[in-house]
């Protein structure tokens, strides 16, 4: 608590956090477990259920990404916390270099529809609505909170699954399947087998270097974070905010830092939107060092060579994932492109990504379809 108070007193945090500190003077500080696997999320004291809301404890900073990973239309509340006096070191391209003791949390939730019951809304994630001091529990169905924590030996992932009463999230290292009914704006229902990954499967995405096998955060990179967030005290660029509150060192002005497109921004360049979408959804695996490197298809932000990005590229070990097509991307012909075919599938043996979704991301498919359709030329 002293640490938290100190932060508040030195004015590192802004008014809403100050108010929070004052009001919840009894709340213990975030507890970083340097080892072990606490069986409940509550022990971390990162988030707390109070007054009908899921609230963030002092020093726990919410953030959002320009273009987020798709996970069965789940909405996500992302937070970062670092120990007193510690800060991440800015890096232009990779995830920032975070200090030991850093804890990321990502809470997956769905807005509840008017239908009630098991039905949840199938809607775009506009960012968490934290007005009033946290997520309003009556309006959302909490699914799971994943922690990614930086220990001395490296990053560790722990998945916690919320109970139906939304009072407690328990460690579920073996993962789980959760049946959901997604209701679209037009009333259409779609069944989803939402998968909580088991602890090993976290590495399916976060193990971005097959050789080292070390886990890495994916989202907290300059290009993903370089955007405004609706803090309690107003809109503020996240890189600037993290710098000002002492969570980030060495960052340039936001205006010159890399910045991914928002994939849903109709005013943004189509190529930039598609590349941002492919980078966050595919690039952690499909990169020179990632698990998907066996395919020779690299979709990370750094890759420039058209063939590596799939243009007229032959599939490798795709099995029936080819959909009877011959190239990953056929310029101008999205419906003959394996990349789009695998995005359009919900068959676990065909679909891409392999993990993290059980339904098709219709809007993402539309974006990539438009992107391929706009490409010129033909395959030899």
């Amino acid at each position: 608590m002293r640490k938290t108070m100190l932060r508040c007193v030195v004015g590192v945090l802004l008014s809403m956090l100050l108010a929070g500190c004052a009001r919840e003077a009894a709340a213990p500080a975030v507890h970083f477990f340097a080892e072990g696997q606490p069986p409940t999320l509550a022990e971390w004291n990162l988030l707390r259920v109070a007054d009908g809301r899921l609230k963030l404890n002092a020093g726990v900073v919410p953030y959002d990404l320009n273009t987020p990973l798709f996970s069965d239309y789940a909405h996500k509340l992302r937070t970062v916390w670092m120990p007193q006096g510690q800060a991440a070191q800015y890096r232009a391209d990779d995830a920032f270099d975070f200090p030991v003791g850093t804890v990321f949390s990502k809470t997956f939730y769905y807005p509840r529809g008017a239908a009630g019951g098991d039905a949840v809304l199938r809607s775009a994630d506009e960012g968490p609505d934290l007005r009033g001091g946290g997520l309003e529990l009556a309006k959302v169905r909490l699914i799971e909170t994943r922690l990614l924590l930086r220990r001395k030996e490296g990053w560790v992932a722990l998945p916690y699954v919320w109970n139906a009463e939304q009072t407690e999230a328990r460690l579920m290292r073996g993962g789980a399947l959760i049946s959901l009914s997604l209701v679209a704006a037009d009333g259409q229902r779609e069944a989803a087998e939402y998968q909580v990954p088991d602890q090993n499967q976290c590495a399916g995405c976060h193990g971005i270097d097959m050789k080292s096998k070390a886990l890495q955060p994916i989202g907290p990179k300059a290009r993903h974070l370089n955007r405004d967030f609706a803090y309690d005290d107003g809109l503020n660029n996240q890189i600037a905010r993290w710098t000002r509150t002492g969570y980030l060192r060495g960052a340039p002005a936001a205006a010159v830092a890399p910045r991914d497109a928002n994939w849903r921004d109709p005013k943004a360049n189509l190529d930039a939107r598609a590349r941002a979408y492919l980078d966050i959804n595919c690039g952690h695996c499909h990169s020179p060092k990632g698990p998907g490197n066996t395919s020779g298809l690299w979709l990370d932000a750094a890759t420039r060579e058209p063939m590596r990005l799939g243009r007229c590229k032959l599939p490798i070990a795709a099995g029936k994932g080819t959909g009877d097509f011959r190239h990953d991307i056929v310029p101008g012909r999205p419906d003959e492109s394996i990349l789009l075919y695998r995005m359009r599938s919900d068959d676990p043996s065909v679909m891409m990504p392999e993990l993290g979704r059980s339904v098709v991301h219709t809007e993402g498919v539309r974006l990539i379809r438009d992107w391929i359709a706009a490409q010129q030329g033909q395959c030899g």
Partner: protein, 409 residues
């Protein structure tokens, strides 16, 4: 070339209706196992999470059902069952995950168990070394189907790999597939009713011996594909039984193996330094041995080909016992070629070469062939217009490749 793929498929369909279709697989009697402990499945998953190097995870006799993939990331672990017909990890009804078991860990041994009916690949081992797969059965129990998972046993980007006494049945791509790997032995194993029985792809230094490959679309394939991390070579295939690989191709079109004509015994494609000797190869209806380049599979990518050698070179075929086959090639082009040269009732000789060769190479392709009924150079580069049956250009010999030593003690 893209037009040829439907032609192959049509020919396969025609063959089926004509009653020359695949025999049904003879299933191993897996129904005999004791009912599995439902709780074991979750315990097993947790043991994979918590495994320590050196640990042996036993799978007692029983059938254990998983609705999601399993993964292992800890080095030095052994997974050991009570026998491939006794301890069964079943993924029938799998709802999530692209593999049955995915391993990213070295010094890994898996033995004496079965993996059945995974949605995608059966056992995938990615970027690891010192791998032993012994007495493992991977099977899709419903018989050959395009809906089956792609690969049975699938080490990729691995080093020092031993696969022995294992069985792969029903893979819609390859039963035993070693890709982009180095120092590999596949022996005493059986591949049946897969599109490709055993496939060694973009792999350097492999010995494939004492295996049985039958009832696949293609028996044993040695392939190189463009645009990958390494080009393969130095592969010895010997003492195998490769017969009646006449199952209609049920691979998804667009996969390289979908271009393999049904009835292919052995196929060497765009690979260098391959030695094929002392095998029993018989009754493969297209032909017993095919030597080809990526050009005639239709999977060459112009842009990727810059640093890729598409031509098979230094291929040595000798001392095999060959019989039958070549009498009913799959696909319109091959059927027409066979009929034109050998007549309606004739048959292809033991070796079919597509004829693509690098003209700039001083010594030629050095495809050295002995002890065969004949060879046909299909004249792929000339549009299949002037096929040749000249054996004299193949009357050469090459130094023998060294045996693979995995240095396992």
């Amino acid at each position: 070339m893209s037009k040829q793929i439907p032609a192959f498929a049509l020919a396969a369909a025609a063959a089926l209706t004509a009653g020359c279709g695949p025999e049904q697989p003879q299933h191993t009697a897996t129904a005999q196992v004791a009912a599995g402990d439902a709780a074991f499945a979750e315990r097993f998953r947790t043991r994979l999470l918590d495994a320590k190097p050196g640990e042996v995870i036993e799978v007692p006799a029983g059938r254990y059902t998983f609705d999601r993939s399993l993964t292992l990331r800890v080095d030095g672990v052994t997974i050991r069952g009570a026998g491939p017909d006794k301890s069964v990890l079943s993924f029938k009804g799998q709802k999530a995950g692209a593999e049955g078991l995915l391993v990213n860990a070295s010094q890994f041994t898996i033995e004496n168990l079965a993996i059945e009916d995974s949605k995608g690949d059966g056992l995938k081992i990615n970027e690891a070394q010192d791998i032993t797969i012994r007495n493992v059965r991977v099977e899709w129990t419903g018989g050959p189907s395009t809906k089956n998972g792609a690969y049975g046993l699938y080490p990729v980007k691995t080093r020092n790999v031993l696969i022995e006494n294992s069985v792969a049945i029903g893979a819609s791509d390859a039963g035993i597939y070693v890709g982009q790997s180095r120092d590999v032995i596949v022996r005493n194993s059986r591949a049946e009713f897969n599109v490709a029985g055993i496939e060694i792809e973009n792999t350097v230094n492999a010995d494939v011996y004492d295996n049985v490959a039958t009832n696949n679309t293609g028996g044993i394939l040695v392939f190189n594909m463009p645009a990958l991390s390494q080009q393969g070579g130095a592969i010895r295939v010997f003492k195998n039984k490769v017969f009646k690989n006449n199952t209609a191709n049920f691979g998804a079109k667009g996969t390289p193996v979908a271009s393999v004509p049904a009835g292919s015994g052995m196929v060497v494609n765009s690979n260098d330094d391959v030695e094929i000797f002392d095998n029993d190869i018989s009754d493969n209806a297209t032909t017993n041995i095919i030597v080809s380049s990526v050009y005639s599979t239709g999977y060459k990518d112009d842009k990727a080909a810059k640093d890729f050698d598409p031509y098979p070179e230094r291929i040595s075929i000798y001392g095999n016992r060959l019989s039958g086959g070549g009498d009913s090639p799959d696909g319109f082009d091959l059927k027409a070629l066979k009929t034109a040269i050998y007549g309606l009732n004739g048959r292809f000789p033991d070796v079919l070469w597509d004829g693509y060769a690098n003209k700039a190479l001083k010594d030629g392709p050095q495809i050295c062939i002995r002890d065969v009924s004949g060879v046909i150079n299909a004249d792929g580069p000339g549009g299949y217009k002037n096929p040749s049956q000249d054996l004299t250009s193949h009357a050469c010999s090459l130094p023998k490749l060294p045996a693979i030593d995995l240095k396992r003690g």
